[in-house]
Amino acid sequence: MVRNDPRAVALPFIYTPHPVIGLSAEALDKYIVGNDPHTGKSVIEEIIEVLTRPIEGRELPPDPEKLVNTGETQTVLGPDTEENLQQEFYTRGWTDGLPIILPTEERVQKMLTGTGADPDEVVGEFFRFDTGESIKFNVRHVAVVAVMAGARPEYFPVILAVASTKQSSLMPSTTAFGAMLVVNGPIRNEIGMNYGIGAFSPVNMANSVIGRAWTLLSICWGFARPRRTLWSSQGNNLLYNNMCAAENEESNVWEPFHVSKGFKPSDSAISIFRGWGYFNPPGTAAHRSVAEELNIQLAAMPPLNSSATIIVDPLVVKNLKENEGFKTRKDFCRWLSESIKIPAGQYWKTDHIDMLVAPMAYKGVEPYATWKKLPDDALIAPYHNPDNINIVVVGGETSPLWKATDYGYVTSAPIDKWRAKKSQVECTDGTCGLPDEPVQYDSSD
């Protein structure tokens, strides 16, 4: 992958076969004396040669100021048939492969009626590592993608809020990141989002389309170019709609999630989560308490930065509050933080912990520095920061189930700033938009 990184072009690279991780010493010895798959030369001979051969003539790194994509920007296609345009969008890498709604000018204009924002307003900006470009995108761009995803204009403020985070749902990692998009506030009901039965199932238009719009935005922003920006070896099919759902605030006996992030209950907001592990148990808690069950499940997923996100049915929260004594979300998170224990050896021998947390331990950051000095069998509390444990309430109260994930909270964004402007005419008696009373005309008799 580094071959495509403009920062590294001038460095002399030698490749071993892949993978390196998880191999025996004997297998690694064979890599060392074996051949570089790119050159066919012996790896060890190449190492010696690179260290002793003059480097004159090696290619210089390109200047990032000159890295702008020279591909011609094409903002209009056609006229052409539906079939050809569907194929063209797919071939150009603008879709997930599922059919899209073709973004005609009329459809995009209709989408723009869903917001009061100027179509030319810049929604966000990000940097593309593969091309060295700064990308700015405006409201009209997001409207095109929203049409493609099948959105109605009333969904558009939610999609704009997602876009305003500048977060891609697809990550340029060899691992298989998952993402989750949760909507809070009054807009959930206004646009018919599902937070009850089957909220994560493919049955609700708003959930399906808004989640997919995030993926299509990410694809159109360039995050789906295999071996340039997309490296996930297996990929993750949760990214087709990013676990998009609303929170069941009506049945949640704790505060809504967005309120825990500083929003008012009357605000509408989106929240984004990201991670890998997803534990979707078939059973509930017939023989152990909910807290004990979660304790077991989360202990199996050593977290980064103490992060976990647990998506619970409202029945679970009611039980935790009424029968297990957790009056607030914070009470429960504090209990989880203190109760979940795993051996230090299990923690440090987890690959991503060694890669990303061990450097903090070496720097002296606590509690990692202390944990690093412990014997393998000493117990540690890997979810040491209860503020990084998130509880989201979703479900239809048919079973007290939950999903335990290692997802971390990324960010939230307000939706209301993207709403369509209110009508200039106040409608206080509920008669606005109703047909006029029948008019009685004079008889000509």
Binding site: L51, L60, D354, L356
Partner: protein, 113 residues
């Protein structure tokens, strides 16, 4: 008679402004120009080579085996194994690189996953 409908559509390149960008802070810097690379060695004999593990899984074990190879086949080469500072994606400080400049003659840096 069949009527074939043809559409003219906007593309998702609509509303996109491209301009030259800069790598975000902390996301790494440009590789040095070729002229700033350390001069290559004439021989590895009696030289000190740092074997620096990036922190990616598997990298440390690979460097252990590489160190064994040098010990067995080129015993006059001194190897020092280290893990790079900071996490795998960025450095915290330059201490290791300064140490290598002072005490080392060459670096082998790797290996990813």
């Amino acid at each position: 008679m069949t009527i074939e409908i043809r559409y003219t559509v906007l593309t998702p390149e609509t509303g996109i402004q491209r301009s030259p960008g800069k790598f975000p802070p902390g996301a790494g810097a440009l590789a040095p120009a070729t002229s700033s690379f350390a001069r290559r060695l004439d021989t590895l004999e009696n030289k000190t080579i740092y074997l620096v593990d990036t922190g990616f899984g598997g990298g440390s074990k690979f460097m252990i085996e590489l160190q064994k190879w040098f010990a067995e086949h080129m015993p006059n080469v001194k190897t020092i194994r280290k893990r790079k500072p900071g996490n795998v994606f960025m450095d915290d400080n330059n201490e290791l690189w300064e140490e290598i400049k002072e005490k080392g003659d060459a670096v082998v840096f790797g290996v990813a996953g």
